[in-house]
């Protein structure tokens, strides 16, 4: 069974952490993954940096720019994690925009993911229809779980369609925003989380965008299986470096 599905069967609320590969330093990738697992994170999203990250706010934009300046490339990322499965067992997901994956070759990229032990992919600008028509077979061939996003504006009909195509978890974007926007949740978001929970989807949901603390993690997971922290972790890395990762993770729950 895919490591993501295994993890989703565990009883606790899942803490997933995003970081940008190649940031703060080019060779930090494996170190960050190992430290996150050791500190108690449940899942990791490895950001493949892109020059034009449309769905990201300033924090992840800047970490992406810095990573690219550091010399990060798709090949470089795969070479950095070629032996990662010798040291960690945590589910690993690559989050990247579609163009770099398209240039690498979608099948070659998926094959490489399988070889290195990547469990899933989040490609925010690959619409679910395109995935289904052109890429689903490839993902299945390499046992990769596709993760799709929903937002407060997504219609129920579309959510059900996404639920149908999904086989891991659904990434529930907490509010209409790019990453790293507001933090904490009001009634509006809580109602939205509850509304989605009441749909009784077959696919668990994990909340992303706007989570930065133990309090917001608790709120986000009240009606969902887990939550993803990205920008807040990048900020922590910027200020405190790779050595202090456990301090960040441990206070979250």
């Amino acid at each position: 069974m895919n490591r993501i599905n295994q993890k989703l069967q565990e009883s606790q609320k899942l803490l997933s952490i995003y970081f940008t590969a190649g940031y703060p330093e080019i060779e930090d990738t494996a170190r960050i993954i190992e430290a996150l697992e050791k500190s108690g994170a449940d899942m990791i999203e490895i950001g493949l940096p892109f020059s034009d990250p449309l769905a990201d706010g300033p924090t992840i934009q800047q970490s992406s720019e810095a990573a690219l300046r550091n010399g990060m490339t798709t090949n470089k990322l795969f070479s950095q994690i070629v032996n990662i499965r010798k040291t960690v067992n945590i589910p690993l997901i690559i989050m990247g925009y579609f163009n770099p994956i398209l240039q690498y070759g979608v099948e070659k990229f998926c094959q490489k993911c399988k070889e290195t032990g990547i469990d899933g992919l989040i490609i925010p600008d690959l619409p679910v229809e395109e995935y289904k028509t052109h890429y689903q077979e490839i993902f299945e061939k390499y046992d990769l779980i596709p993760v799709f996003l929903i937002t407060p504006q997504t219609s129920e009909e579309r959510i059900r369609f996404i639920d149908d195509v999904s086989n891991g978890f659904i990434y529930m974007v907490s509010s209409a925003s790019v990453t790293g926007g507001t933090t904490g949740f009001g009634d509006e978001q809580m109602d939205y989380f509850k509304r989605i929970s009441n749909l009784d989807l077959k696919t668990p949901t994990i909340v992303g965008f706007g989570i930065s603390s133990a309090a917001s993690f608790k709120q986000a997971t009240e009606f969902s299986k887990g939550a993803i922290i990205g920008s807040a972790f990048i900020k922590h890395l910027s200020h405190h470096g790779v050595d202090k990762i456990s301090e960040f993770v441990k206070v979250l729950r």
Binding site: S51, D52, G57, P58, Q61, E65, N99, Q103, P127, E130
Partner: protein
């Protein structure tokens, strides 16, 4: 079945187009996709659109036989005078259409991206006309080099927001506008300035600009006794003025299509914006098209002396014209474009925008028959480029 170079039902021109957008944009783009054609067909929409083009923009724009220019190049050259549109370029045809679209969709706020500021000014203009809030994203570097257009937008009541990410030019201004739309999904309409972006934008913008070739057909009939020229010629950055001139001739293969790109300092100089020559298939701003990028799929920064052609991608319609061979693509260097701008100024008393000057420059190398009828889109006037002309020619 007859080959068509128009968009298909899925939003593709051959291999190019589509809507590669994050889910956060899906409701907005889907609303537009399902409604744009029906809204554009409404009688009240058409009536208001045509009225504004006539009374406010100043359409139809003349189709002018450029006698001196024709004599120099020994062929029959007509200029479609989009430079005489209100605000000085063809851009306003699209912003008029889209502001009416925004009203029909019940939107109360408009955003736009701009490079040199022409589309920003055209958007700010129609927002002032309609009393709608307007926010224009512009690269921090462009703000510094296009101060007069920034001032114009401010006079028109728009808020100009500097794009400080990435290379701080047009592509980043577009990213920022898209992010704004993600953050404001309900009340905001995004007026894209060219035939780029996710479907239905390339088709919608092309339809609003198609008034250009609609008029050419009527005007050429009056002047030459035939609707079809032998060639239509336009400069291409994203490609909106070209899409407008080509539109009604796309599927008529008796009419040659010539698209002129900016070679910058030379196609192989490393400082160029010739996307058809240098680009590879990929995704930019929600569209699958040709774009300039690294081997690793990172989008690269183009260069041209003309800010309006300084875009790393090209609209999917044009990418398809290139790949299928339906269009002939020529690239023109900064220097040759500037020279052509001077030639037109002296022979015809018309100072063209530097973008347009690229299209004019092809006659130095691309020869036409004496009785060929060639229509060039004179897409904009050169007032905005005076400083560049002054510096280049030491005027």
């Amino acid at each position: 079945m007859k080959t068509t170079y128009q968009v298909d039902e899925r939003g593709y021109y051959g291999d190019f187009g589509g809507a590669y957008i994050p889910e956060m944009l899906y409701p907005n783009v889907e609303e537009l996709r399902t409604r744009y054609l029906e809204i554009m067909k409404e009688e009240s929409f058409q009536k208001e659109f045509k009225q504004l083009l006539k009374d406010y923009v100043g359409r139809p724009t003349p189709l002018y036989f450029a006698e001196g220019f024709s004599k120099k190049y020994n062929t029959k050259i007509y200029l479609k005078r989009e430079d005489l549109c209100h605000t000085g370029a063809h851009k306003v045809n699209n912003t008029i259409g889209q502001i009416l679209m925004a009203k029909k969709l019940g939107k109360t706020r408009v955003i736009a991206e701009t490079g040199a500021g022409q589309h920003g000014v055209a958007t700010a203009t129609v927002c002032a006309l309609m009393g709608i809030e307007c926010v224009v994203y512009m690269g921090e570097i462009d703000i510094a080099r296009q101060a007069p257009n920034v001032a114009r937008m401010k006079m028109l009541g728009a808020t100009v927001v500097p794009a400080k990410s990435g290379s701080r030019t047009l592509k980043d201004a577009t990213n920022e506008a898209i992010r704004d739309w993600i953050n404001n999904p309900v009340n905001t309409h995004y007026i894209i300035g060219s035939v780029v972006g996710p479907h239905p934008y390339p088709d919608m913008v092309a339809r609003f600009q198609s008034v250009i070739s609609e008029e050419v057909k009527i005007q050429l009939k009056e002047k030459e006794g035939r609707e079809n020229p032998d060639y239509v010629v336009a400069c291409v950055g994203g490609g909106s003025n070209a899409a407008g001139l080509f539109y009604h001739y796309l599927d008529n293969e008796d009419v040659g299509i010539i698209a002129v790109e900016a070679a910058g300092e030379g196609v192989l100089s490393g400082k160029s914006a010739a996307t058809s020559a240098l680009g590879k298939e990929g995704i930019i701003h929600g569209s699958k098209t040709l774009l300039m990028q690294t081997e690793d799929g990172q989008i690269t920064e183009p260069y041209s002396i003309s800010a309006g052609l300084d875009y790393p991608g090209v609209g999917p319609m044009h990418a398809n014209l290139f790949r299928t061979g339906r269009g002939e693509f020529i690239s023109v260097t900064d220097k040759d474009a500037m020279d052509a701008g001077l030639v037109l100024s002296k022979l015809e008393g018309i100072i063209p925008a530097i973008e347009t000057a690229h299209a004019l420059a092809i006659f130095e190398t691309r020869k036409f028959k004496e009785d060929d009828v060639v229509v060039i889109n004179l897409s904009g006037r050169g007032d905005k480029d005076l400083n560049t002309y002054i510096e280049h020619f030491n005027l």
